[in-house]
């Protein structure tokens, strides 16, 4: 039995339309595209950041981040940098301002559902959508509004910006999935040779931790001498002589994968992801096999949630 007044029932019927997705709704993990309006949230659920709506300006496939501009429904607080995007141009249910002065990088894994899409040039060059008065005085409330907007985006973007700026080398070197290596060793799979580039250099970081020792013991003598060189000489043995002792204890606490991996719960890959999360490097390129994904199509990215925070994983084919 409803107790709604008649005016509300009438207003509800007059404004029927599709419902928007929740910011944390499950989505197809595909690479974002410039022009999309998407919700974004913090990497970790316990973060102080709030979900917001952003406009994707550029996409970087190497590190897996999107350069985004914040959007707002505070249409009255526009400044000349901002572009008004009416809902009928973007397909979103409401009008927003794209705040082209409030820009930051965000991990793909922070992006939620697409609410609309419009090419920037389609709206940016329309003078009717950029009519705001100049922002001249600090006591104009738009000044403090822009400061708070910048702060909100900085909170969301802090991890991504720090990694991309401070640790680009670590973030960009791919890791190899120890489970894929173990599978190759067990099956004498020649794909393991793909870990070496054509010039003989290693395409990935050496496997570290106790996973390396385990894999050494699995090494099959049925592999040809060249492949043994790859596996023993480079991928595994380099780890034994690296600055991080191979046997140093590492967390193997369970990692939750979205989308799920086949055989998740495998400890060696969890160790790898945990090590990243502990160092607060929230992205990882992972050389792995297609057989480790439950879906038919390999995801463009996935989120691996650990007790130390989430890591975005960008799979590459072995």
């Amino acid at each position: 039995m409803t107790h709604l007044p008649d005016w509300l029932i009438a207003a509800r019927e007059a404004s029927e339309g599709h419902r928007v997705s929740a910011p944390n709704a499950e989505i197809e993990p595909t690479c974002p595209r410039p022009g999309e309006m998407r919700t974004v949230g913090p990497m970790d659920d316990d973060s102080s950041g709030h979900a917001r709506l952003v406009y994707v300006l550029e996409v970087d496939g190497e590190y897996g981040f999107a350069t985004v501009a914040l959007t707002t429904n505070e249409l009255d607080l526009a400044i000349p940098d901002d572009v008004l995007v009416p809902g009928d141009k973007s397909g979103a249910p409401f009008d927003v301002l794209i705040e082209l002065g409030i820009v930051a990088p965000l991990w793909w894994a922070q992006l939620g559902p697409v609410l609309g899409e419009v090419a920037l040039e389609e709206v940016q060059d329309d003078p009717g959508l950029r009519t705001a008065m100049a922002l001249r005085r600090q006591d104009d409330i738009r000044w403090s509004f822009k400061e708070s907007e910048l702060h909100e985006l900085q909170v969301l973007a802090a991890d991504c910006a720090r990694t991309v700026i401070d640790e680009p080398e670590v973030a960009i070197v791919p890791e190899v999935d120890p489970e894929a290596v173990a599978s190759c060793l067990a099956n004498s799979d020649a794909r393991i040779a793909r870990l070496l580039a054509s010039d003989g250099s290693l395409r990935c970081a050496p496997i570290r931790g106790s996973a390396a020792l385990e894999l050494v013991q699995l090494t099959s003598r049925s592999l040809g001498p060249d492949l043994l060189e790859v596996v023993l000489g480079r991928v595994l043995n380099e780890s034994l002589t690296s600055e991080a002792p191979a046997t140093s204890p590492r967390s193997r606490s369970a990692v939750a994968w979205a989308p799920p991996r086949v055989g998740s719960g495998a400890e060696r890959i969890d160790e790898l992801v945990n090590a990243r999360a502990e160092r607060r490097i929230r992205t990882m390129r992972l050389i792995t096999g297609a057989e480790f994904w439950a879906s038919e199509r390999r995801p463009d990215y996935c989120a691996a949630r650990t007790e130390h925070g989430a890591v975005q994983v960008l799979p590459e084919e072995l």
Binding site: T2, H3, L4, P5, W7, L8, A11, R12, A14, S15, E16, G17, R19, V20, S21, A22, P23, N24, T39, G41, H50, A51, R52, L53, N73, E74, D76, L77, A78, G87, P93, F94, D95, L115, P127, G128, T131, A132, M133, D139, D140, I141, R142, F145
Partner: protein, 341 residues
């Protein structure tokens, strides 16, 4: 109610019983910080919000903002917890309150413009369009760059400081409004209409509105207790609107009651230190806390704390009076503050 339940109701009905009840509660929490004389679309009784006024505000907020402008969808695109939903809804309601006030301001300006256009130096051109008498113009609509030029010229006309608790501050003194209209008419090489002037005012008020249309009230943190809006604000509105006349006819007290009012005000005024009196005077002039702090060389936090103390003292001294005389008492207090400054 959990957020998952709220989300399910949104998916099913958009606004059902639970979401409606929650919004009504939020409307009451937020609106009671704002003076009803300024923000309520139906007349306030005794200077306070009534159930009818809250209901009317909830109705206009839900129909105009949340449903017609799809702002409920905006909220639901970002909320993942009940706290998020409440935070975003409060934020939406504050925007709605600001819009109510801005509409009043622009409508008043256009009423004044209409009166001026009916007299010299303007003459009706055709239909609802006007020109400056004797000026040679082209019979067409203005080009966008002409309108923007007119806007730039209009933006140079000085505006009056708005009164924080006045529903529709006049914004421009008569001579300045004349100058603005003349500037627009001279900039356009075609007739001007009320629609053109409305567009110009909307652009000007885009810059003006956020900073000047919700000044004193935004300083009141809604989560803080004890800063609730009381009849003092509405009363002071009347004190500052002598030219415009009272919003509601006021009863006259008997000589004995008038003496009681004067006595309460005298005691209250005597209880205020010179600094407190100055802070109150500046707040009633519509200055935000930051400006008041600058004027009396105190921190903003100190001013916020002092405001609470002062408002509590006003309440303490006036609560013994019959509610009908609160406005009169406040008029006297405002006058005494003005005399002292």
């Amino acid at each position: 109610m959990t957020f998952a339940e709220l989300r399910r109701e949104y998916e099913k009905d958009r606004i059902g019983d639970d979401i409606f009840a929650r919004i009504q509660e939020l409307v009451r929490q937020v609106a009671r910080k704002y003076p009803p004389a300024v923000y309520s679309e139906i007349a306030a009784v005794g200077g306070d919000w009534t159930d009818e006024a809250f209901d009317a505000l909830a109705q206009s907020f839900i129909t105009d903002s949340l449903l017609a402008d799809r702002q409920l969808d905006y909220t639901m695109s970002q909320a993942t917890t009940l706290e998020d939903f409440d935070r975003l809804t409060r934020f939406q309601l504050r925007r709605h309150l600001r819009d109510i006030r801005r509409r009043s301001v622009i409508d008043n300006l256009l009423d004044r413009v209409r009166e001026r256009l009916a007299a010299a130096p303007y003459e009706q051109y055709a239909g609802d369009r006007w020109i400056l008498a004797g000026r040679s113009i082209q019979d067409r609509e203005p080009h966008r760059d002409e309108l923007e030029k007119a806007l730039r010229r209009a933006s140079l006309v000085p505006r009056e400081a708005s009164q924080a608790i006045e529903r529709a501050p006049r914004v421009y003194a008569p001579a300045d409004l004349d100058a603005l209209m003349r500037g627009v008419a001279e900039t356009l090489d075609c007739p001007l209409s009320l629609d053109h002037l409305r567009w110009i005012f909307e652009q000007l008020l885009t810059e003006l509105a956020p900073s000047e249309l919700l000044p004193i009230h935004e300083d009141m943190a809604e989560e803080e207790e004890g800063v609730e809006y009381a009849s003092w604000a509405e009363t002071s509105l009347r004190a500052e609107r002598h030219a415009g006349g009272p919003l509601i006819a006021e009863p006259e007290p008997s000589p004995e009651e008038a003496a009681l009012v004067s006595e309460a005000v005298t005691t209250l005024r005597a209880s205020l230190s010179p600094e407190e009196a100055e802070i109150l005077r500046l707040k009633l002039a519509g200055l935000p806390d930051g400006k008041v702090a600058d004027a009396v060389n105190r921190s903003r936090a100190t001013i916020v704390a002092r405001n609470k103390e002062i408002f509590a003292r006003i309440h303490e001294h006036l609560e013994s009076l019959d509610e009908r005389w609160h406005r009169r008492a406040f008029d006297e207090l405002v006058r005494s503050l003005g005399d002292a400054s």
